[in-house]
């Protein structure tokens, strides 16, 4: 349930501040997510939208407040400012004809209305999105849903509103993988968890008394590769099918078995191995296990990611400290691509390939930096001291990353345009780290 939603104008900082606090999660989930979202941006850039509570024709109260979920989604993007519920001039529901003049006076550029009714063992949810200024219906759908898919339907409505108005696909109906750690030193529990993109419904897909790291989504959104230290004396790279609970051990050689990254075709992993000496980049064919060595330096080469089918970006300290390099996926000469700051590592590539985000250290801790690949333009996106593990949303508009807050690992997210930042903390007292944003489900 949605506990509080508040939108207010902060005079001191001249920004709109939205506070949304959820205390959510299924009863079956041992760890419930608490999301604190703080959005800072010039109010003039956020699009004002009225989101009216959806009508409900069943008995009792509706099973889910769809409008509240959509409101939270859109606010979180930083691109929308929803009118306060108390300030709505009317409460039309699905099928009503809005009085556009009144909505225009209330400051809304867009209006979302909807309704929900019981049908069979589930519900039908429908909505209409209006352009208030044009007095036009922009979009509307019906969804047949169950209790389990209600929230997903709400996120699809958010996606539709986002894309209809901004012309960019939304990424609300997606998931985040992350690693959580709880318990004292020596008595730790590590979990590889999946949660909805709004932090809802966290579920552990792997629980282990030993470290888990480097989760990586396959392009199919079903399999996840990761590194496990369940054998204390030798790490291993696994691929686990989240739905079947089945997993395969891809490789476990002497030394490092790390940093898996899926090729765009989902058939290969770029990985780090050190069984032949210093850590180098390899590509392993998942089906056959065939290995190809991509780099061969005496330095540390690690953290490979695919920029496209034929190109791998990785971290190397061959110049003295860690910097990012680019190399053909068939091997060959590597070319350095980062030059600002003495520490640049853990690259991630935006879905369209145009941006590379990474961990940047220039003396005062570690922040998330990004370079625009066509121009090479560099900028620092965060202000933390221990920021790590950046990952792009599948629409390329946001980056989620690991950060530290009050001595605990939390997740932060920000929009690339700098208009929004937010943080996600687990309420079981544990730390969270290594977020990986899912691809769109196929």
């Amino acid at each position: 349930m949605l506990d509080t939603v508040a939108l207010y104008f902060n005079e001191q900082f001249r920004v709109w501040v939205v506070s949304v606090l959820f205390a959510l999660g299924l009863a079956a989930s041992p760890a419930q997510a608490v999301i604190e979202i703080e959005i800072t941006q010039g109010g003039e850039n956020a699009i004002p939208i009225a989101i009216v509570p959806f009508g409900w024709s069943g008995s009792g109260s509706p099973p889910e407040d769809i409008a509240a979920i959509v409101t939270a989604d859109l606010q979180r993007s930083g691109n929308f400012a929803a009118l306060n519920r108390d300030d709505l001039v009317a409460n039309p529901v699905s099928g009503d004809v809005p009085r556009f003049a009144n909505w225009r006076l209330s400051g809304a550029d867009f209006l979302l209305i909807g309704g929900m009714r019981p049908e069979g063992s589930g519900y039908v949810v429908e909505f209409q999105l209006f352009d208030v200024l044009q007095q036009a219906l922009l979009s509307g759908f019906s969804f047949q849903v169950t209790d389990q898919t209600l929230r997903s339907a709400a996120h699809q409505i958010s996606d539709e509103v986002y894309e209809e108005i901004l012309g960019i696909p939304g990424a609300f109906n997606t998931q985040i993988a992350f690693v959580s750690v709880s318990g004292k030193v020596g008595e730790r529990t590590y979990k590889l968890q999946l949660a909805d993109a709004d932090g809802e419904n966290p579920q552990a897909m792997l629980t282990s008394p030993r470290p888990i790291l480097s989760p990586a989504w396959a392009p199919d959104g079903i399999r996840i590769a990761y590194v496990s230290f369940e054998n204390r004396t030798q790490s291993a790279i696994y691929i686990q099918n989240r739905q079947l609970g089945s997993r395969i051990k891809v490789i476990s050689r002497e030394g490092i078995n790390g940093a898996p990254s899926w090729s765009p075709d989902g058939k290969r992993l770029a990985i780090t191995l050190s069984y032949e000496g210093s850590p180098d980049i390899y590509v392993v064919q998942i089906e056959s296990g065939t290995l190809r060595r991509i780099t061969d330096s005496a330095a540390i080469d690690t953290e490979p990611v695919w920029a496209d089918d034929n190109t791998i970006i990785f971290t190397s300290d061959r110049s003295g400290g860690p910097q990012l390099y680019e190399v053909s996926a068939r091997g060959g000469r590597a070319e350095r691509i980062t030059f600002e700051g003495k520490y640049n590592a853990s690259a991630t590539v935006s879905p369209d390939g145009s941006s590379v985000a990474f961990v940047h250290g220039a003396g005062s801790g570690f922040q998330i930096g990004v370079i625009d690949r066509p121009t090479g333009l560099f900028q620092t996106l965060t202000q933390g001291t221990l920021d790590d593990s950046p990952s792009f949303s599948p629409n390329g508009q946001m980056i989620i990353f690991a950060t530290e807050k009050n001595g605990r690992g939390t997740l932060g997210a920000l929009s690339l345009d700098g208009s929004v930042s937010q943080s996600l903390t687990l309420d079981d007292g544990g730390s969270v780290r290594e977020p990986a944003w899912s691809p769109y489900s196929q």
């Binding site: 019906s142 696909p169 792997l206 629980t207 004396t233 860690p322 221990l386």
Partner: protein
């Protein structure tokens, strides 16, 4: 006011493709084309739990592991894998002991502090462990007596985020392997 029709409900290709490969649960009930059956099967998670791992071993004081030199932690400077001069003596003690006890086996566990990226720290921890392995071999220890594993920043001994904690966490643990390992 412009007249608005609600009869035709738009279904975009985006939403169709988003649902296209999912099992159409309840799809038979969908009488109208504009009702989209929504399955949440993609969100199903079947959990896997790993247990039964034993971290602490009882060491027989009369075994090689029990008799080996007591100082078994070597500390490192930030972002460095070079041995600090003050630890030369401890490494030398282990080198002499292992050379005299060729049946002895050590696992060198490399660790780092939390600063920097996790996988880079795995590599840095390995470099530290390999530094100690090289030093031992220079003392006449056979290569088969040593193995290295790096945990990077994953197993700190001190959770705090300050210089004291970081100094304790940048280390190599020299672990004498006993018969039972997993």
């Amino acid at each position: 006011m412009k007249k608005i029709s609600f009869v035709a409900v738009l279904v975009t290709s985006t939403l169709i493709s988003a649902c296209g490969s999912l099992p159409q649960r309840g799809g038979d009930d969908a009488s109208a084309q504009d009702v989209i059956p929504l399955s949440n099967d993609s969100a199903v998670v079947r959990p896997v739990t790993i247990d039964g791992v034993q971290d602490f071993e009882n060491i027989d004081p009369n075994s090689i592991a029990g008799k080996a030199p007591a100082d078994r932690v070597i500390y490192f400077d930030y972002d460095q894998a070079e041995l600090r001069a003050e630890f030369l003596d401890i490494v030398a003690q282990h080198g002499r002991f292992l050379a005299q006890n060729p049946a002895g086996r050590v696992r060198l566990e490399g660790h780092t502090d939390e600063r920097g990226t996790r996988e880079y720290n795995i590599a840095l921890g390995e470099a530290r462990a390999k530094t100690i392995a090289r030093m031992l071999q220079l003392q006449g220890v056979n290569a088969v007596q040593t193995r290295t594993v790096s945990y990077g920043e994953e197993l700190p001994v001190d959770d705090a985020h300050n210089n004291d904690a970081w100094a304790k966490n940048r280390r190599v643990n020299i672990i004498y392997e006993t018969a039972v390992q997993n």
